[in-house]
């Protein structure tokens, strides 16, 4: 040490993210590129050249509903209509189950309002056999994979047909057959599992890829960073999705992002190509997912995608956002609503109109209501029709050991 400390040294200070002081910029989305502005890199483009994309935004749909630029995907009108239908189905599904919560038929629900395009669009770009490692806000993956709505609802209602036997939280579905890994209540754990699954697929010489999902808030967890190390080291065939919906319960995205410009920045230090994509633009979601999936399938390694969107609703039914959130936020959100935007595009193509839209809305609502009526006929958390206490001991281990069989018998005596 060379010199003594001197009294005139500045006292140290911390940077506290602005929103902690109640200063929400009305427009919180940074780096909004124009639709079509960004070039689509070759699948094996050097990571240094993709690097600029982390401070830009891939967008396909312009304000008039035109699909413009390199990233505009080559998909049929039918596929676009299917995307529209899937998103509307998810929204209708969420609305019905929120109502079920108010009716006391489920004790807990989490909706994906405003974020539907991301899960629905990515699902359409992947193949059967690929595996998603979702969070609780990707019901769109299951619904787009035609998982039966009734089965989902049976779980949300915790009735006797709940496929998870009343053990797991209502929205934490799992279905191996539909490429939907079981959801963890502890955040971020799925991220590294997805990388492990992808590594195993490669070790087996398989052709299936994995898609990891995480909210922007949960990227602060160590699992996220560890997953990036492994994905980078082994060039695992995985899509690393970050859904930046700007909120983690009451905490604005600024906290997890820190002083970095974007979440896509996180990929850079790991030499993982990272892009930012308009998550409310179904066509951009599809195109970017497709690009990342193809990279993985061609052994070109992981891709990180930061999806920009907005959590329009509350965090969950246990949360009241009015105490921390500016009311005008949804209205001022510059990326609009995913359903409206795809609808506008189809209308621009003259492939859609008001009449058809109203008819489709009625159709999905009917589908949801019919499914709900069926699920409800099997009971709900209100009627407590879930399996008997003896099922508590099933599946703790692969086999039922003797000491658990004895405990099961004792519980039966008591109940």
């Amino acid at each position: 040490m060379t010199t003594d400390r001197d009294d005139t040294d500045q006292p140290l200070r911390l940077r506290i993210p602005e929103p902690a002081r109640g200063q929400h910029a009305p427009d919180r989305v940074r780096y909004i590129s124009a639709a079509g502005e960004m070039q689509k890199p070759a699948l094996d483009e050097k990571v240094e050249r993709v690097a600029l994309m982390r401070k830009q935004l891939v967008r396909v749909l312009d304000d008039e509903g035109r699909a413009v630029g390199d990233w505009a995907p080559d998909i049929s009108v039918d596929e676009k209509r299917r995307g529209l239908r899937n998103m509307m189905l998810v929204r209708s599904y969420d609305a019905r189950l929120l109502r079920a919560h108010r009716q006391g038929k489920t004790s807990f629900y989490m909706q994906s309002l405003g974020e539907e395009a991301i899960a629905c669009g990515q699902q359409q770009a992947l193949l059967p056999g690929d595996m998603h490692f979702p969070t609780y806000r990707q019901q769109g993956l299951l619904i787009s994979a035609d998982y039966p709505l009734v089965t989902m609802m049976n779980q949300v209602l915790s009735n006797e047909h709940d496929p998870l036997h009343g053990r797991q939280l209502p929205v934490m579905y799992s279905s191996k057959a539909h490429g939907f890994f079981t959801i963890s209540g502890n955040l971020a754990t799925q991220y590294i599992q997805a990388v492990g699954w992808a590594m195993a697929s490669a070790l087996r010489g398989g052709t299936e890829i994995a898609a990891a999902w995480i909210g922007e808030g949960a990227t602060a967890e160590s699992d996220f960073h560890a997953a990036l190390v492994f994905a980078s080291t082994y060039q695992a065939p995985v899509i690393l999705n970050i859904v930046n919906n700007h909120w983690a319960i009451s905490t604005p995205e600024d906290f997890a992002r820190g002083a970095s410009a974007t979440f896509a920045d996180r990929g850079y230090g790991f030499s993982i190509p990272a892009i930012r994509v308009d998550g409310n633009d179904y066509l951009a979601v599809y195109a970017a997912s497709q690009w990342a999936a193809e990279r993985a399938r061609k052994n070109l390694g992981p891709t990180l995608i930061e999806w920009i969107t907005l959590r329009v609703g509350a965090h969950s039914t246990s949360d009241d956002p009015s105490v921390y959130r500016p009311p005008e936020e949804t209205e001022q959100f510059p990326l609009g609503d995913p359903i409206q935007r795809l609808r506008q595009h189809l209308e621009f193509l003259d492939e859609w109109d008001e009449e058809r839209h109203v008819a489709l809305q009625a159709e999905v609502d009917t589908q949801v209501n019919e499914a709900f009526a069926e699920a409800d006929s099997h009971g709900s958390v209100k009627t407590g029709d879930v399996g008997s206490a003896r099922t508590m001991f099933d599946d703790v281990f692969a086999e039922l050991p003797r000491h658990l069989r004895e405990q099961r018998d004792r519980v039966e005596e008591l109940s």
Binding site: I16, R21, R167, P170, N186, E221, S318, V381, M392
Partner: protein, 329 residues
């Protein structure tokens, strides 16, 4: 002066008063700032003390505990919050291998006056990863102190003691007791760590229970009194260090003991209490020590199942009746 406030308010008041009295106390955790914490335990504190002393953090339990350890070792008195007790597992290295052992490994020259607060317990239909009672895991670690108050009065006194304590402490707030009302003095006070409370004196059997279970046991005891069964109810309040003396003395008097906890029975803290009773009061026992606890399976989600999972008043009552029915020696 004392008045009725809730368990949450008692927690909040302890933190507020200690923060006013001691500038080195600060809090950090997920959603604790403007939002006041998902259970409102930190409500209004950021308003009074500012963002530098009530720090909203990114979602990283490892970093939250780690920052607490670092800050505590350099002279602050941090209070760090882990939303659900289940998530301490995410930061277990910081708790078990770092906070707990630092004084010892630094040859005694480090102190770690860290308080970790967390929401524990079930009964809220929150499923296997948001409902656990993991006290046995942390009580097993030399260097940590663990408290689990069952009422607002104990909450304030124990939380104050935790903040003033020079060792790392873990305060388990029971999620089902947050709204519980009780008489709490306005002025600051401490309940010394490691002192049990005898909630009810009785001659026939000793029930040792903590958290929400001790309140259940108390109600059962009152009911059994009508049938002439005289139950002594002990709430250890601090689980580490455990006030074994009060427990053993009681059992020497009643000759029978039932231990009740929400955690799974196998290797739960009840096993330790039972072992200590037989070591210290073997010759006084008229019956084997009984335990009422959860089965060896994860906590289920639905209320219909969880109600079978959690020890109920009926099961506690049955265990007490069974043990007093055994002929004495």
């Amino acid at each position: 002066m004392s008045r009725k406030i809730s368990y949450v308010q008692a927690f909040n008041e302890a933190v507020r008063q200690e923060m006013r009295a001691d500038e080195t106390v600060f809090c950090a955790g997920e959603d604790i700032g403007g939002f006041g914490g998902v259970f409102q335990t930190y409500a209004g504190l950021q308003e009074e003390f500012g963002e530098e002393r009530v720090v909203d953090t990114p979602i990283s339990e490892q970093a939250i505990i780690g920052l607490g350890v670092g800050a505590a070792a350099t002279g602050s008195r941090p209070i760090v919050d882990i939303m659900f007790m289940d998530f301490i597992c995410v930061a277990f290295d910081q708790i078990v291998n770092q906070a707990a052992k630092m004084k010892y490994m630094f040859g005694g020259s480090a102190t770690v006056p860290l308080t970790i607060t967390t929401g524990g317990g079930g009964g809220l239909s929150a499923a296997a990863q948001h409902s656990q009672s993991l006290e046995a895991l942390i009580c097993h670690i030399p260097g940590l102190k663990v408290v689990h108050p069952s009422n607002p009065y104990d909450m304030k006194g124990l939380m104050t003691a935790c903040i003033r304590e020079d060792n790392p402490t873990i305060m388990i707030k029971h999620k089902r007791l947050l709204g519980m009302q009780g008489e709490v003095p306005e002025e600051p006070y401490m309940i010394p760590l490691g002192t049990a409370a005898t909630l009810r004196e009785g001659a026939d059997v000793t029930v040792v229970a903590w958290g929400r279970m001790v309140n259940e046991a108390f109600d059962v005891a009152e009911k059994l009194a009508e049938d002439g069964i005289d139950v002594e109810v002990i709430d250890p309040r601090t689980l580490q260090p455990l006030d074994s003396e009060t427990i053993v003395e009681s059992v020497r008097k009643t000759n029978r003991a039932v231990i009740v906890h929400e955690a799974v029975r196998f290797a739960g803290l009840g096993a330790e209490v039972a072992a200590q009773i037989q070591e210290e009061a073997f010759d006084y026992l008229d019956a084997p020590v009984a335990r009422v606890a959860a089965p060896f399976s994860p906590v289920p989600f639905t209320p219909a199942l969880e109600q079978h999972y959690q020890p109920s008043a009926a099961r506690i009552e049955q265990a007490i009746r069974d043990i007093v029915a055994r002929p004495g020696a």
